[in-house]
Structures are given as C-alpha cells and as structure tokens.
Symmetry: C2
Subunit: 256 residues, 2 copies
C-alpha cells in the first residue's frame, strides 16, 4: 500500500518530536542527508526552581529580550541541568518574539516564549497556558526585584496579553515613556515574573497539584455567549479580555 | 579574571546557536550531561520552491494547525532537503501557536511560525518580517487553491496581524461562522499563502533582490508621530495598523 505524504505527516506529527518529512515524499527534488531520528515528544520535564529560572530570564533579557528570556529560563535551565535534547535547541531563534515579534507589539514576547516552552515539555499544555495568560492579564506586574538593584518599578495591570496594550497601560500608570530605560527594566522584570509563574505551574502539573484559579472572567464570558463558539453570532474566537479594545460598543449593540 | 554568568550568556548569545548555559554557572545545582556544541547561527538558508513549501504547509495545517504549518513549510522543507541541523528541531512544539496561541486569538499563528522560521535562517530577519506582516495586513487572503478542491473560499483583508481581528473580518465578509469548516479551510489556505510569501521573501534576500513594498501606511505613521518613539507622548510601541481598534478616538483626541 502506498503511503501518501499526508499520511506520513500525520503519522510523524503524532508520534515523533523531530523532523516530519522524509525522502519518501521529496518529489525527487532532494534526499535528506541524515536519517530521521524521532525522539519522544514532549521532551521530559523535571522540577525547576522558579527563582533560579526567573534570574536566568532576567539576565537573558539583556541578550535577546522577552521571548528569548522566558524560553531560556525554562528550556535553557533544563539544558543546563540535563544536556540533550534541550541543548540542541537553537535558542537564538527566540529573539524573534522581542517586543511582540520584531517590535510589532502583537503578543507579549514573554508569553510567547513561555507558551512555546510549555508546549515543548508538557503533554497537557493548554490549561497551563490558559492559567498563565489569565494570570498575566489580571495581576499587577512586575513583581521581580533583582538582587543588585534598589530601583523601584511601578507595577500595572496589563488587562491584555498584547505587548502594545501592556506597555501603554504601564506608561499611563508609571508616567514613563515607551522607549525609556525604565520601560526596558519593567519588561526585563516582567520576563522574570512570567518565567517564575510558568515554572510554578509546570511544577504543579508534574506533582498533579495544578488547579487553575484564573478562569475567563465573567464579563468576557458574557461577550463570548453571543460572539464565540455556539453563540448566535459566532463571529469571533479567542480567550482574550475583550474590554480593553471594545470599551465603546456603540449604539447598535444591544444593552448589556 | 572570573567570567560572570552574564558575560557567558552574552558571549554565547552572540556567538552560538545552540545552548547558552554552561556548567560554569550552574550554581552547583547540576552539571550538563553533554558538552555544549555551538553551531553557526542563523542556520543556512537555501532557495526554496515557494509552491512546494505552500503545499507542505497546507497539509501540515491538518496535523498541527497554523503555526506548525508555516514552520513546517520552511524549516521542515529544509530538513527534507538537507537533513541536519533542520531535522533536529522539535517541530511539534510549534503547535502552541494554533489559533493565536492555544486558541487565545492573539497573534495569527501562521505569522508566528513564519517569523520564527525567518529568524532561524536569516541574518537580517526584521525587514523580512516587516514586509510579511505588512503584506498580510493589506492583501486579500486566502489566495491558495488546493489542487484537489474546487471549493471557493471568499478572501478578505485582515487589516491586522491578530488572529481575532483577521477571523472576525473574514466572518463578516464571508458570512460563515468562526468555528465553521469553511473558516478552518480559510485558515489552512492562508497558512499556505503566508509560507509562499515567506519563501519568496527569503529567496529574494538570498539573491540580494529584496525590496520592501509594504511600508507602514501613512495613517499609521500619523499616529506614531505623537505616540511612538520620539513623539511628544511616546506612550506606545509597535508597527500594527492602529485603525481596526482605534476607529473611535473620542472627543478628547485632537482633530486629525
């Protein structure tokens, strides 16, 4: 029976962690130079010290900014402790998430890196991401205080997972500008916070003690009742807090 | 002279592509089990056939959705052609970007995967990401038509890099719901489109013929003049189109 490209992608996509393409469907254009060696996926997770990971992320921020920082604090720390396969990862790629991806201010890079790390080491990653993102939207950040600094950084509630909203809201609260060194320091500390929370959540999942406490807020559930899956409109998707953008519903929207 | 953790992170961060942590600063907690073998970074890029990559992404969408799809179309295709180091990547991790990261509808997963791939193989990645994201915001998508399907999918202009906005705008134009099979098909084709564009841009950069044609639009430059770097307010950052969210500036904003 001939195996199709799709079947192989599906098979490898489910079973293997590394490459998902074989010379079997290379269309004669090329031949893979090395045999494909599937490794177990996800990569195994071992309990991390959240404070050690936070320190690594804070310092990593200086090298590669937010996404690189959180990923380094989790996967880099596992590489330090365990070696392979963690140390085979091209960590510098993670610089791409800086400032909401190449400074576009879309998704917060700290969250982008943390989500990637969670999916790499958890076999039930989505509840962990949901909890992390929910926490990030609702808590006053940053909390992290570097040992060698007495500088106070005013915390703020982002109410959003987006870099743009998170930064602008902090600028409003702190009175500092978006390209100030204080904002850089705020984001470095926030990167450490996200890593610490991620390590705590992964540790809880490992110990089977994980219990989410940041569900989707009621005011977002109210929007989703009509606009999300199964609603009469069903014209959107997602779990973000709606209110930071949709604060003015206009006159055409029914009273809520 | 004692080398600090920070100096080593910086050194490795600049020079090496793989792991960035060594036992030198493991605080005695652990010892890496394998020597660290830095490889050149970025990984070398070779010209890809954009249509072949698009087909891989379209099919990859079925396995791991949008982010996995675009990353597979670029890095998976290089793995197929070249083997290592591309085939050492844990491709399944990229499932995390589905539906704007774990279905949060933040950054479009197709763009998230493409940006990661671009940073992995380009030594001047940011202009390529800028062009790709600019194109995505302004063009009618999807364009891709699978060979084995006559199904027509209505295209729409996302005007945003965010999954939520992109999907809702498509729902409005197409009249299909956000969780319909048509919307799934739309995102699978859009994943192929993003991969094709990414391969074209990387090919152009390789051939030194890359010339951006999707600069930041004038109406966004107008906002940035006051709100972004160097502006009188400087209370935000980013390159996203402002107008899909800030369509109502309220009475307190000066007339523009």
């Amino acid at each position: 029976m001939k195996t199709t490209r799709r079947e192989i992608i599906q098979m490898l996509g489910v079973a293997a962690g590394t490459v998902v393409i074989t010379p079997l469907f290379s269309r004669g254009v090329s031949v893979a130079k090395e045999p494909i060696k599937p490794v177990d996926f996800p990569w195994p997770y071992s309990k991390l010290d959240p404070d050690v990971s936070a320190d690594i992320s804070y310092k990593g921020y200086e090298v590669g900014r937010c996404m690189y920082g959180t990923f380094l604090g989790i996967i880099g720390r596992l590489a330090e402790e365990k070696g392979a396969p963690y140390n085979t990862f091209p960590f510098l790629m993670m610089k791409y998430g800086k400032g909401g991806v190449a400074d576009w201010a879309t998704l917060c890079g700290a969250l982008n890196g943390a989500a990637a790390a969670i999916y790499l080491v958890s076999n039930k990653p989505e509840p962990i991401v949901d909890e992390l993102f929910g926490w990030f939207q609702q808590e006053k950040l940053p909390i992290y205080q570097p040992k060698d600094s007495k500088l106070e950084i005013v915390p703020s509630v982002a109410r959003s997972t987006l870099c743009h909203v998170s930064v602008s809201r902090w600028c409003k609260v702190s009175k500092f500008k978006a390209f100030s060194k204080e904002r850089e320091e705020r984001c470095a500390r926030l990167t450490a916070d996200v890593t610490k929370k991620t390590a705590e959540l992964l540790n809880q999942q490992l110990a089977s003690t994980f219990k989410p406490v940041y569900p989707i807020p009621d005011h977002v559930k109210q929007c989703r009742a009509c606009h999300d899956k199964g609603g009469t409109l069903e014209n959107t998707r997602g779990k973000m807090d709606c209110s930071p953008c949709h604060f003015n519903l206009g006159t055409a929207h029914k009273k809520i």
